[in-house]
Amino acid sequence: MARDTSYRAVMARQNEIMKKSLGMDYEEYVKGPIVFDYEAMMSGSGYTLEKVREIQREVGVGNTPLLELKNVTELVRRYAKPGYGARICVKDEACNPSGSFKDRRASVSLYHAAKKGYPGALAATSGNYGAAVASQAAMRNLGCIIVQEVFDSRHVGQPEIIEKTRKCEAFGAEVVQLTVGPELFYVALLLLEETGYFNASLYSPYGVAGIETLGYEIVEQCRARYGKDPAYVVVTHAGGGNVTGTARGLRKAGALGTKVVGASVDLTGLHMASDRDFNRKSFTTGHTGFGVPFATWPDRTDVPKNAARPLRYLDRYVTVTQGEVFYVTEVVATVEGLERGPAGNTSLAAAIPLAAELPEDEIVVVQETEYTGAGKHPQAQLDFARRNGVEVRRGDPRENVPGKRIVIPEKFSQLHVTEMPLDRMRRSYIRNAVQKNGLKEINAEEVQFLAEDSKLTPEEVCRILEELEVKVRA
């Protein structure tokens, strides 16, 4: 009998399809509607940091250079108050085989898929991760399907994503290009069922474990070169794996004093699933449209429990504007000789004003770069923005309006960050956890989990629960 492939029927089979395609049973770790053993899930995959390093060495992933941005640092010191302006270094992740830190994630997933005998791997992503999965699949001679959200209903595509389609195909992958909509996951499920491929989810423990080496290498490199740990590691944040994996790696290396700062491009007001808004944004990742919802409710993904849980690790979360990231992309190309992709420079745009807050002898590490190419480039993206009715001009970046106006700074000293109130995000995470599970009452073990998952104390969690009129059982 033919399987029912309607939207409803396939979504109803989601758990079953996931179990088969991930080869992992989350039930082992889940203890109730709220509580699950996060650390057991992370180590249950068996991929220790040492094992991950070995896997990555074999496929040429990781061990990327840490470059000191001397001219950018000099420009910061020109406007910072005397004695201020920390040294800015960047981890040149564009040196990975497919051009971004996403190779770290894909390396572990594809190693696992090969080991378990899956005929191939599938990922639903419009980002660099698709290229990473396709590249790792090519190395292991496995099949590969990448499902991408590319076009609006006029069949107009973001130049950045079309470049990603090209790159995935260059590695021999099949690419399914879709119009806008969250039903991307329905298509992914259908294809997993049809092919029996491994679900190379961005949010499995494999994917996140793969990023820990990035944080670990940063600490090793800083200690070897400067004899100290960075004050800040600034991380471009979207779905939260980047923050989570990097921060875990920093901790494993013992850099307990280093602050983890998330940075996203501000796209407030643009709806991620809107056909109309789709081509009014000039960034397809590293933005608040993913950064905020994923931090405040991680379990919205294609896996039962998300391994990416950024609120556990974030010390600070800031936003920058699209125009500032394009500006900084031009700056790093022309004064440092590093032509890199815009989205990966989100954390660099944030690191500049952050470095100005710190004394000269401190270090700020920008945790990644990504490759650039046709389409995935400030010229192509700004031209596209203009053609889609977005105003582009120079001026004060504070005049930026997402989807309407991109303002390229006139002066380096205009680069700024806007603080995202983490306390508010932590509170909204707790609200989501109780409301999405329909709970009016929770117990002490659940309070403890929520505290760990949001980096609050149990007392703070209880205060928030009280405001939400949720009772805590003794």
Binding site: T165, E169, E183, T195, S274, D275, T334, D383, I408
Partner: protein, 104 residues
């Protein structure tokens, strides 16, 4: 551009995956009004005219069908024209760095 594919040609097909009424209920109004569409590339299993239905074998070995839209589909995305708002930045900052160096 050829209007016809032969068996074995690299082609692109188009499919309607979900009609508007079949879509998720949790999507914005503008998206809910339009179908979910897909474009997939592979090698044609038969000859066909652009606009006709054709079966393909994809790089992952799947067999699927759809309306033929292009033969030997390529990529035309570019680096775009020079952007006057970005163009002067190099000169501006290099002048600042030069001045800093001269001051010692």
């Amino acid at each position: 551009m050829s209007q016809r594919c032969a068996k074995g040609d690299w082609v692109m097909i188009h499919q309607i995956i979900l009609e508007p009424h079949e879509r998720s209920k949790d999507i914005p109004e503008d998206t809910a009004k339009v179908p979910l569409e897909a474009w997939i590339k592979g090698w044609a299993n038969d000859s066909a005219e652009v606009g006709q239905e054709v079966e393909i074998t994809t790089p992952s070995g799947r067999i699927t069908k759809g309306r033929l839209v292009e033969v030997n589909p390529g990529f035309t995305h570019t680096y775009g024209p020079a952007v006057p708002e970005l163009n002067p930045i190099a000169q501006e900052l290099r002048a600042v760095l030069k001045e800093a160096k001269n001051r010692g």
